[in-house]
């Protein structure tokens, strides 16, 4: 049965895996791309043009740290010229006032600034870097420009107690949007899961506090809260469905349906150095692999929810069950939901010693 090929809407441009921070929750793959493998400027310029031609509306510049690319201003300009809405997903360093002005001048639409905590101490513990003071400086500089600003607080068991202090920062700086993004367990986050997964009680506290904040900030700041997948009853429609809305170009040019797809064995990811983005989107085996419904297993295969959540996340199914075609174990209807319940139990009942332990973090390194 032929299906209409969807138009891609979002391009994630993972410009580099280099980063001045070493966050324990990083969702980058464990195997980080070497600097020498990174795409040159002109290849990215072509990619942006191909993306816009294919129907893509928005590009997210991310990494690693996109500001680590010395050509970042040129890349922003090229993406904007190509007709894309440009977002920068960044830690805020390395950056100074002049560079920020140059980025805005080049056509940057939206600046998403990450926060590892509300305090310098927590930020240092989570990122193994001194980055928090710089972020506060960036918040001041941003006030001089009329662009979209989102503050992204990455939350987990080790910093949920700072939620009210985080909200104070929001009240002080009034960004257009604030996202409280619970860590999801891929890449380095998965390696550090036992230290990061919040307790049920912490989550309830979070939900209540943020519901209150959302009301208070309505009409001023948009509040987005993403719950950890494991605590949900049904899975997220991951990336809007495999190969339906989003494509990611890695630092070395490999095109993936999502940032974690590298964990699925037996897939060859085609490269923008060899083929056009449109060609890869339409016909690469990697993108075709989980399009449509033929690949689905029960219960997804005959479940009404398959039209809204597409069976959940392939990479999560792979990570937790070893089968990328399985129903996302997060789903309460999945036969493997018990695996997720066991992980939650190890954090919630009875009061485990693990909560008292000082975490033995695995810090994400900087690639060679």
């Amino acid at each position: 049965m032929p299906t209409t090929l969807p138009t891609p809407l979002a391009l994630v441009a993972e410009l580099t895996h280099r980063c001045p921070l070493h966050c324990v929750y990083c969702s980058n793959p464990l195997e980080l791309a070497k600097r020498e493998s990174e795409l040159p400027t002109q290849t990215w310029v072509r990619v942006f043009q191909e993306a816009a031609k294919a129907g893509v509306l928005q590009v997210d510049f991310t990494g690693g740290e996109p500001l680590a690319r010395t050509d970042i201003v040129e890349l922003v300009h090229a993406a904007r010229l190509a007709g894309l809405y440009v977002s920068l997903i960044t830690s805020g360093l390395p950056l100074d006032e002049a560079k920020l002005a140059a980025l805005v001048e080049a056509g940057l639409d939206h600046f998403q600034l990450s926060f590892q905590g509300a305090t310098e101490q927590t930020a240092r513990e989570i990122s193994n870097s001194t980055s928090h003071p710089q972020k506060l400086r960036v918040l001041e500089w941003l006030k001089k420009h009329r662009i979209g600003v989102t503050l992204n607080f990455v939350i987990h068991r080790q910093n949920i107690q700072e939620l009210e202090e985080m909200l104070l920062l929001v009240d002080e700086h009034r960004p257009g949007c604030v996202e409280f993004a619970s860590v999801q367990y891929y890449g380095w986050a998965l390696a550090n899961r036992q230290a990061l997964l919040p307790t049920r009680r912490q989550l309830e506290f979070c939900v209540a506090k943020l519901k209150e904040a959302e009301e208070r900030l309505k009409g001023k700041t948009r509040v987005v809260f993403v719950v950890p997948d494991y605590y949900a009853k049904f899975p997220k429609p991951c990336v809007g469905g495999w190969g339906r809305k989003l494509m990611l170009v890695s630092p070395d040019g490999a095109v993936l349906p999502c940032h974690a797809a590298g964990v699925i064995p037996g897939i060859h990811f085609e490269n923008v150095r060899d083929k056009s983005l449109q060609e890869i989107w339409e016909s690469s085996p990697a993108f075709q692999k989980f399009r449509g419904e033929d690949w689905m297993q029960e219960p997804c295969k005959s479940c009404d929810r398959r039209h809204q959540d597409f069976g959940g996340c392939r990479c999560q199914a792979m990570a937790l069950t070893g089968d990328p075609a399985a129903t996302d174990p997060v789903c309460s209807l999945a036969p493997t939901r018990t695996k997720v319940d066991a992980i939650l139990a190890s954090i919630n009942e009875p009061k485990p010693a693990i909560l008292e332990e000082k975490p033995a973090y695995i810090y994400r390194p900087n690639p060679a």
Binding site: L57, Q58, G83, H110, I147, G148, V149, G219, R222
Partner: protein, 91 residues
């Protein structure tokens, strides 16, 4: 929150239309996009910080002369309130 008739709505920071040559016309925002057609496009194009809500309503009355003016105004206020709650416009 509905605007006053004297308010002059404008697109919020980081919100813009795609280029005139790009179809369909779309309102672009951080992590979201809204397809615009017909009345919604007319309205958003007039959210320029200069036109009052009253003036936007009057423009719509002219364009959609077959519809009842009060209904048009009510729908307009509702749509502007929606855009405001989504942080797409300020007024």
């Amino acid at each position: 929150m509905k605007p006053e008739l004297t308010a002059t709505p404008r697109l919020a920071p980081g919100v813009r239309l795609n280029e005139k040559s790009q179809l369909p016309r779309t309102l672009l925002m951080p992590e979201r996009a809204l397809r615009l057609n017909g009345p919604s496009l007319e309205i958003v194009q007039l959210c320029d910080g200069h036109h009052t809500v009253q003036q936007i309503a009057e423009k719509l009355h002219t364009l959609y002369s077959k519809a009842e003016p009060q209904r048009i105004t009510d729908d307009l206020l509702g749509y502007l309130a929606l855009l405001h709650d989504q942080r797409a416009i300020d007024f």
